[in-house]
Amino acid sequence: MRMPEAMSTTSYRTISVNSQPYLYLRIQLTVEGEDADKITPVQFKFLIVQALKENMGEVGAATPVDVLKLLGQGIALLRMPNRNAERLWAALTLYGRTPSDKRCAFRVLQVSPFLMGLAFDSREGR
């Protein structure tokens, strides 16, 4: 989109009405009695697939979910297709017990259709 000459000095904001192809989530995984920093990306992805399989079955587990980055303290950035995001999100929050019978929880911290939206958390400063 090109800006008119007169407006070029002022800041402007783009609002997207269309639905975006992906949904990005920042989630935190906590497992009872385990150090969150020691969770490897493979374990993280495994638990996500487990959560999907339990709630949505094998069909749900087949939907592509990408762990983009594993930050410290069990926080990770996820990317999932917008079409099934609602159900996958539900499956993540409903998951409560690992296969090794430990209590665990996925906490969804931030959700955005753009990856840039996760760069800043407006709730952190409070």
């Binding site: 999907l52 399989k53 339990e54 709630n55 949505m56 079955g57 094998e58 069909v59 749900g60 159900r87 539900a90 499956a91």
Partner: protein
């Protein structure tokens, strides 16, 4: 009041290998097989959405036909899961969905037509005259009922045969 809408899947139980012996299954076994498959493919969400309406409405062991009911809103979960049935009871069996109807009545209507078509296919397979006679008699029986639905007339006299039954037999032999 809003009507509670259902869909009925008319399935054939196919058992590869064991053809001749009578299939000993009951509707409870079919139900649990379908239920477990839904749990596998669509998880707790899929089962939870279907469990209320899921029911085996009709099971015929001799013709191996099953009618399974499910809520219309979630019927796609059932129809996609039915493909993955591998075992019913102790038998290796899978379900072949022949028809999907909005009512049991519609399914039964289809079933009559389906059996009528398949009877002509049975005829060339017969080896003895006795079997031929049996198939012939059942075809005529079926045709008679189709011509005058709801009214069962007396059995046919020997030598006198309805023309429609003969037509069906002829077309069956040509195949």
């Amino acid at each position: 009041m809003v009507r509670f809408k259902n869909r009925y899947a008319l399935c054939e139980v196919v058992t590869p290998g064991t053809q001749s012996s009578l299939l000993e299954i009951n509707s409870q076994q079919v139900y649990s097989a379908v239920r477990n498959v839904i749990l596998d493919t669509h998880g707790e969400f899929g089962l939870g959405s279907l469990q209320f309406s899921l029911k085996v409405k009709y099971l015929n062991i001799e013709t191996r036909i099953v009618i399974i009911r499910a809520e219309r809103r979630f019927f796609h979960y059932l129809s996609s899961a039915l493909v993955f049935v591998k075992k019913i009871g102790v038998h290796n069996a899978f379900l072949r969905t022949i028809h999907v109807g909005g009512s049991i009545r519609a399914c039964q209507k289809f079933l009559i037509r389906f059996h009528r078509q398949n009877m002509t296919r049975l005829f060339p397979q017969c080896t003895t005259d006795e079997q031929r006679c049996q198939v012939m008699a059942s075809i005529m029986d079926a045709c008679e009922e189709l011509e005058a639905p709801g009214r069962r007339s007396k059995p046919l006299e020997l030598g006198k045969q309805p023309s429609t039954a003969l037509d069906i037999l002829n077309s069956g032999e040509q195949r």
